[in-house]
Symmetry: C2
DNA sequence: TGGCGCGGAGAACGATCGTTCTCTAGGCTA
DNA sequence: TAGCCTAGAGAACGATCGTTCTCCGCGCCA
């Protein structure tokens, strides 16, 4: 097993365990067991749990936004792409391992204690907002900023509400609200 | 110090510490120190940390919804009360100790591990939705259900977005989106 | 006044955690 | 083949946590 494979297995195990059970309840030894990578190697690649947690968040950020962007980009017209975000959310919410936003969860758990985690979470949310801003702009909005911010609020609200209630329905509520927001902003 | 005072001091200390630092990072001994109640008494009143956590969440639920309802009820006309919710949120977000939704944070941390916590969180969100439903109904909506769900999503989104970005601005975004939702539902 | 029970302070206990250390086996080089 | 470097398995260590126990002093009742 070379180093890149070990990194991948470690991050895969960390992501699965941290996301499902929270960060503090998952010990390093559990990640070793799930990944099959020895503890020595683990600490060679990620010198502390904090570093591993930040790496987990940053890799998940890239994958998450990549999957969203890929789904949305498949829509032929730019006008329907902002609402497509909420269709993607609904699919995500229906997956059995869905447990809310990894970043919001991490922030609630460690936002006070770990500046690195807090920054990774803020970066993620900023990137999502930037992405929504582009979608809204390309859909033809004169002033995309306020609309993008409203869509970001709706997306975060849908994620947390769905996580707690256990149903994908909030995605549809958020989509309907987003539709009202877009209509009020002047483009249907 | 009698029992009701000890309970109050314990719950005050637990609420301040759990909300600010998260639940797992705060030990029972820290709650003892902050409350001035001996460890023996603490365990007499709350036989385990889980019980204390649930009590913290349930008391906070009542206080939080009470404060919101009091603020909103001061609005003279029922029609403006749904939007007043977001004015209250904005005031809350501006307070220095604001750190997001205690229930979402607790759910992210312990939702998998503690069924009692998960249930308390779900109960809180259900009560908030019920409250919003009443506001929307009293404002004159023919079908208040979908509108109330959209407002609930907006409120949760505003709370988490504000917690992470550190500004009260998402309350205004959510308010504007709520206004669009209400307008689209037929009552301006 | 003398014994008794309750409450407080804090030590103690067992478990767990993040992190490091030890020991050993195996593969590469000369 | 002999020596050495690496890596893995897992013990070990120090800290912390939830929870319980010990010890002591103070107030109450006969």
């Amino acid at each position: 097993m070379d180093i890149t494979e070990a990194d991948g297995r470690l991050l895969d195990a960390a992501e699965a365990l941290f996301y499902e059970h929270g960060i503090q309840t998952v010990g390093m030894d559990r990640i070793r067991a799930a990944s099959g990578v020895s503890l020595k190697r683990l600490y060679q690649r990620f010198p502390s749990k904090d570093v591993l947690v930040e790496a987990y968040l940053r890799r998940r950020d890239g994958r998450w936004r990549g999957a969203l962007a890929e789904y949305v980009a498949a829509r032929p017209s730019a006008a329907e792409r902002p609402l497509a975000v909420f269709d993607w959310l609904e699919e995500w919410f229906g997956q059995p391992d869905f447990r809310g936003c990894a970043f919001i969860n991490a922030y609630g758990e460690l936002g006070t204690a770990s500046p690195a985690v807090a920054e990774a979470v803020r970066d993620h949310k900023a990137e999502v907002l930037r992405y929504l801003h582009g979608l809204v702009r390309d859909a033809g909005a004169a002033e995309p900023g306020p609309v993008a911010e409203q869509l970001a609020v709706l997306a975060d609200g849908a994620i947390t509400t769905s996580a707690i209630t256990g149903t994908p329905a909030p995605a549809r509520s958020a989509r309907q609200a987003a539709s009202a927001v877009l209509e009020a902003a002047g483009f249907a």
